[in-house]
C-alpha cells in the first residue's frame, strides 16, 4: 500500500524519531511511504486558540497536499482529530463549502497510527522487540475524539520483551491542552503533577503514548524531576526490533537546564 506520511509539525521539528519510526515500521510491514513535501502544520494550534481565520490557509494547504493520496497516516491522535473534526468546520465558518467537502474526504482517509495498523492493516503483532517496563497513557484526543480504544494496548501486548503495566487513572488528561499549558500554566502543572505521580507509581522505565505533544509535556515533567523515566512515542516502540538495538529513547530525553 502507498501511504502518505502526515508527519505533524511537532514531530517534524522536535520529535523526528517518532516520524522516522513510523516510516521504518510501515516499510517493515511491506508498504511504501511517501512524504508530501508541501505539508507544514494542520492548524490545530490556531483553531484551538481561537484563530480560525488564520488556520484557514493551513487547512487549505493540508487538504491540497494530501488530497492526491488514498491513505494518510500520522503518529498523532490529536492532529488526526483536528483533520477529521475541525478542518471542515474551519472551512464552513469561512463560507467555503467546497473546501469543507474536500476536507471531509481527506479526513476520512486519514488515520492515527494505531487505528491504521489494527483497522486497516489488520495487524496487532508488528514484530517489535522492546525489553522494557512500559506504561501507556491514552491521550485525550486519541481516546475521546478518535475513540482508538484499546488498539494501542493490543499492539503493545504483542511486543516481545515488553512488560506492560497499567497506568492508574490513565484516562485523566495530562494537562497539556496546547496553549492551555501556557495560558493556564498553574492548573496545567497541577494536572501534570498527578499524571507524573501515577506514572511513577507503576515503576515503569518508559511512558508511551500516541501523541508527541502530550509526551513532551509528561516527559518535560519527568525530566525536571530527574525521575529517570523516559517518554517514548508508541511508533518508536513498535518500530524497535532485536536488530535495531535500543534506538530512540536515549537520544530524546529532555534537556537538563
Amino acid at each position: 500500500m502507498r501511504i502518505a506520511l502526515f508527519v505533524t509539525c511537532l514531530a517534524d521539528t522536535l520529535f523526528p524519531q517518532a516520524a522516522v519510526a513510523t516510516v521504518r515500521l510501515l516499510e517493515r510491514l511491506g508498504h511504501e511511504v511517501v512524504f508530501p513535501e508541501g505539508q507544514t502544520c494542520c492548524g490545530q494550534m490556531h483553531v484551538n486558540t481561537g484563530y480560525q481565520a488564520e488556520a484557514l490557509p493551513l487547512v487549505r494547504r493540508h487538504v491540497r497536499t494530501f488530497e492526491p493520496y488514498d491513505v494518510v497516516v500520522a503518529p498523532s491522535g490529536s492532529c488526526v482529530g483536528s483533520v477529521r473534526h475541525q478542518h471542515a468546520m474551519v472551512a464552513r465558518r469561512a463560507g467555503d463549502e467546497r473546501l469543507a467537502g474536500r476536507a471531509e474526504a481527506v479526513g476520512r482517509r486519514t488515520y492515527e497510527l494505531s487505528e491504521f495498523l489494527v483497522d486497516v492493516l489488520g495487524v496487532t503483532d508488528v514484530g517489535a522487540y522492546y525489553p522494557h517496563r512500559v506504561t501507556y497513557h491514552p491521550t485525550c484526543h486519541s481516546l475521546r475524539m478518535l475513540r482508538v480504544g484499546d488498539r494501542p494496548l493490543r499492539l503493545l501486548r504483542q511486543v516481545r520483551g515488553l512488560d506492560l503495566v497499567e497506568l492508574p487513572q490513565g484516562e485523566q488528561c495530562c494537562g497539556f491542552g496546547g496553549t492551555f499549558a501556557v495560558k493556564n500554566a498553574d492548573t496545567s502543572t497541577a494536572m501534570l503533577a498527578d499524571k507524573l505521580r501515577h506514572v511513577l507509581s507503576t515503576g515503569a522505565d518508559v511512558c508511551t503514548a500516541g501523541d508527541a505533544s502530550c509526551l513532551m509535556h509528561i516527559g518535560g515533567g519527568l525530566s525536571r524531576l530527574r525521575t529517570g523515566v523516559r517518554t517514548v512515542h508508541l511508533a518508536e516502540i513498535l518500530a524497535a526490533t532485536e536488530s535495531s538495538g535500543p534506538a530512540g529513547p536515549a537520544e530524546r530525553t529532555a534537556v537538563t537546564a
Binding site: F15, M45, N48, E54, L58, T187, T253, A254
Partner: protein
Amino acid sequence: MSRTFLGMPATAPRGVGHLRGDEPFPAAARRGLADPQLRRNLGHATTTIRAKSGAVIRELPDWEQLRAAGSAIKADVLARLPELLEQLEAAVTAAGGTVHWAADAVAANRIVTDLVAATGSDRVIKVKSMATQEIGLNEALEAAGITAVETDLAELIVQLGEDRPSHILVPAIHRNRAEIREIFLRAMPGVDPGLTDDPAALAAAARRYLRQTFLTTPVAVSGANFAVAETGTLAVVESEGNGRMCVTLPETLITVMGVEKVVPTWRDLEVFLQLLPRASTGERMNPYTSMWTGVTPGDGPQAFHLVLLDNGRSAVLADEVGRQALHCIRCSACLNVCPVYERAGGHAYGSVYPGPIGAVLSPQLTGVADNASLPYASTLCGACYDACPVKINIPELLVHLRDRAPHPRAEAAAMAAAAYVMDRPALYAAAQRGARLSRLAGRRGRGLPPPLSGWTIGRDLPQPPPRTFREWWARR
C-alpha cells in the same frame, strides 16, 4: 434608562447577579490550586460521584438512546421556544397560576420582590435554584428588607459560612464535614454545642434548625428543573425534602425559571427523569420529585407565580453553534469529570455556573468579552462531552467561543506570523532550523521568555534533535 434595541437578543446586564468574576480564570485558579484542603475535598467528592454515577449509568442498557432523545428534545425546544413558552403560559394560567416575563435580572428581581412585598411577609424560604443565584435575587430581596432563607443543606452551609457556591449541584462541595461542623457551630442559631462531624448529625442539625422556619414562612421561591408546555406542569427534582416543604407549605409559591427549561410534552419527562438523577447525584432516582400544575384547591400554595427569565438566554439562542449550551439540565456531571475543575475549584470560574458548562454558558450569557478567560479554562480533553446526559459538545463550544473571544495583541501577532510561515514550506523549514540554532545558542531548558515561560515552571523543554524529519527524509 438606557435600552438596547427592543426585541433584539441581549446579553445579561452588568452590575446585577453573579455571572461575572472579579478576575480572570488563571489568577483565580491559583488560589484554589494553593489550597490543599480544597483540593483534597474536591478530589474526594468528584471521585466518589464519578464512581456512583458510572455504576448506575451502566445499569441502563439504553443510556445512549436516552441521551440522544434528551438532546433531540432540547434541540426541538430551542427551535420552537417562543411558541412553547406561550403554550406553557396558557396552560399555567388555565390551571390557576400567574405567569410573569422578565427580560433580565433587574426585571426578575423586581417582579419577585414586588410579589413578596404584596404578601406582607418579610421572609421567604428558598429551594436551591441556579436561576435565582444567577440574578442575585437574595441581595435584591435583602435590599427590600426581605430575608431569604436558603433551605438546601449545601446552600445553607454556604449562606451560614458567608461563602460562595462552587458547584451546581453541591454548592458547598469545597467544604468537608469538619469544616461544615465548624460553620454550624459558629453560625447556626440554637445549634447543639456537642455537634459532631458525622454527616447524619449535620443533616439532623439542619432539620431542627429549619423546621420552624418551614412551618411559619408564608412565601417560597423556587427554581424549576422542567416545565411542560403541554400541561403547564412544573417539576422540582431534589433530595432532602426542603423542596417539597417549599412547594407545599407556603400560601404563595414563586418559581423563577430560565426560559430554556420548558419541554414540549408530559411524555418528555420520561427521558429527563431517567437522565438527570443518574448523571447528577448518581442515583437511580433522586429521593423526591415534586410536580404541580397551577394551583390545586385545598392542597399546597393557593397562589402560584411563574417568572420566565431571559437574562442573556436570547443572546445564546442567537448563536446557532452556541445555543446547544441551553440544552443544559444542570446535572453537573461535566464538573465532576473535569480535571481542570477538580484542581482549580468552582470559585475560579467567577460565575454561579462553574466547570465546563460554566465555561461555555457564562461567556455567552454575558457576552464573551466579559468572561474572556473562561473559554480557555479547559484542555479540550473531552471528558465533559462524554459525561453530558444531553450531549452538549462542550469542547466544540469552547473552540467556537475562543474564536469570538478578544485576543491579546501580542498573541494575535504571533499567531498570524506563525500561520504566515506555516503556509510557506521554505520559510517553515528555515524557521525550524532557526529555532534549533537559537536553542543551541543557550536558550535551553527553563529560560523561555513570557508568556511561554509558563511552560518551564514545571517542565523541561525537549532536547532539540540534530535534524528535523524533513532533513532526515531529504538525505535518506
